[in-house]
Amino acid sequence: MNAEIRPIRTPAEQGLSGELKNLPSSGGARIVALREAAAKAFNDNGLPHRRVEEWKYTDLRTLMREALPVSSPAQSAQVEAHARLLIDTGARRLVIANGAVVPELSDLADLESGLTIQPLATALAAGGDLIARLGTLEPGRYDAALALNTALAADGVAISVAPGAVIERPIHVAHVFSGKAAASFARNLVVLGAGASLTYAESFEGPEGVAYQVNSATEFVVADEASLDLVRVQEEGANALHLSTLLFEVGKAVKLNAFTFTSGAAVTRTSLYARLNGADSAVSFNGAILLKDRQHADSTLFVDHQTTGCESRELFKHVLDDSSRGVFQGKIVVRQPAQKTDGRMMSRALLLGDDAEMDNKPELEIFADDVACGHGATCGAIDDDLLFYLRARGIPLKEAQSLLVQAFVGEAIETVANDELRDALVERAEAWLKARA
């Protein structure tokens, strides 16, 4: 006899289960089945809590007090006024408001040869090869944020780059939330053919003072010898709850460089799953996370080396003011066939606030015997000797701190290849420091 233990469901879980009764119906039998399976998984498992290892430091069951109704479309005039991130970078800009593409604010004209961009809703209605890739990167274990996204997201962008096509102009998907508190879900799919090249940016922003919820997931299918640069900026309003999932499938000899900048939202969880199943690829996942007040941000990475000769690098820099809390969980798995793997992970935190907290949890699981893997973590205040040196030259304390913090996060931002995007990130870090001073 099975004794099923059902924990008491929280109001948020009950509310979400209610939302899951009305799943989107687009996309054909496979997609509908995916949604139903995801909804069932959520109903069975609920929100994760601190006894679930992957969510040890981010007890979503406690942090997510209520479920909000799925958001309705936003007014484009309001959206236009709110969307300001990465606006001057020269990227091709697509706007997603409250989880739905806003065509009148999205630049879909004169697409480069080999580039296809569709709203996901359109792609789902049409079916076809691209949609056949959607949902194929799910990590094969329960992830509440991703399950909710899979079940409830009805729109987003679907992008494909034909084999060999080199898209010079970055694509920027601007996620904006507008209006009253609600939950928005967006699902994006980015498929790069063999030898293709793309710079993809995504940004997240919304109003201050509104306790809205954003759940975004983006799947990246990167075929052999393709090159992908990903840049993310998350500056949600201070009361928002932001959950995002990044899924990568990496072929052989791929170059992948992903960078995340986070300074928004009350609670952030970014989960990243990368499956390296082609040989000799080089991937890096870097981040700069700047938090203040009582903000909480969790970056959890799962890098799965399945085959030989891949290099993976992670560099995460947290700057934690006031009583904010940063979490970095990095797991590198090196499977038995993945000989000659070179994996290195580094997390550094600068604690500016007396009550700030950083939790680091590196995990290495190595089954191959000829690998080089390492990890490191540091936490500390700004070096007093450095501060003294700068101040002894006449630089006031706050300005000296700002210069040193900029230098600290600069090391991570430097990894962004695109000049305009890198400059925009430096500017975002400066803006954060300026607001502090």
């Binding site: 007093d384 000797d385 450095l386 003294f388 040196y389 700068l390 101040r391 002894a392 030259r393 006449g394 630089i395 006031p396 304390l397 300005e399 000296a400 210069l403 040193l404 900029q406 230098a407 600290f408 600069g410 090391e411």
Partner: protein, 254 residues
């Protein structure tokens, strides 16, 4: 009134059981004067320089320090710099990620701002740095790098002198600027310092060896021992110390 007036300065390492390092040190520096402070290791020379610059690790228990009549010890570190105090560090610190040019400009403008002066324009700043850097053999590449990052010992000391040349302090304290320098580097650094001697500027040159004083010829030489100045004289005192060593003072104190 002396420009810098140190009177009966007592200081200890911060904390309850902090060891007393300066035990009644007095020194007056007038504009245009170069004072050398010599002494054996552990006599408190570097502590004096840190206390003048405002480092937090020390506590002044007695005595006063004034700069042009103002209480120096009451000022924040950066305020002292704006008032004209400059410490050339014995071990200049590497500041990765802060480009030397950014650092110099931030420092110069912060000081100007504090003094109620206008910020320097970009072309004027670049001209100033180029001119001063050339004289010290500092390349454009070094200026683009992080402050002192990857610099050799000699390059670090030259970079300190460059900072001093740009910031134009009223009172410069050179803490063992000769340490770690070979003879060529010593010459370049000394020439840089000599170029900054002026009737308006006072200097305190702290050194263990007389060698530096062949290049930077002081007006006065003081011997420091156990936290006090135990003897003062002209530049010939340095030669005497070189010949006889510090043993005499160490025995006296024993």
């Amino acid at each position: 009134m002396a420009m810098l007036d140190i009177d009966n300065l007592h200081a200890k390492i911060e904390g309850e059981d902090g060891k007393e390092i300066l035990k009644g040190l007095s020194l007056k520096v007038n504009p245009g004067e170069v004072h050398a402070i010599m002494g054996p290791n552990g006599s408190g020379k570097s502590t004096l320089s840190y206390i003048l610059a405002g480092k937090d690790d020390y506590e002044v228990t007695e005595g006063t320090v004034t700069l042009n009549g103002e209480d120096l010890l009451d000022m924040e570190i950066d305020e002292r710099a704006a008032k004209g105090v400059f410490l050339a560090f014995q071990y200049p610190i590497e500041v990765p990620g802060v480009a030397t040019m950014t650092f110099l400009r931030s420092a110069l403008n912060a000081q100007r701002k504090k003094r109620g002066e206008e910020e320097i324009s970009t072309p004027d700043f670049l001209r100033l740095v180029r001119e001063k850097a050339a004289g010290l053999g500092i390349s454009q590449d070094m200026l683009k790098r992080g402050v002192n990052v990857g610099f050799s010992g000699g390059e670090k000391k030259r970079a300190e002198i460059l900072q001093m040349a740009i910031l134009e302090p009223k009172i410069a304290i050179l803490d063992e600027t000769d340490s770690g320098l070979d003879i060529d580097a010593l010459k370049i650094v000394s020439e840089g310092v000599n170029a900054l001697r002026s009737p308006e500027r006072g200097m305190i040159v702290i050194t263990h060896y007389q060698r530096l004083l062949n290049h930077i010829v002081p007006d006065f030489v003081h011997v420091m021992h156990k936290g006090r100045i135990v003897r003062s004289g002209g530049k010939e005192l340095a030669l005497e110390l070189e010949a006889n060593g510090y043993a005499e003072y160490q025995q006296d104190a024993a």
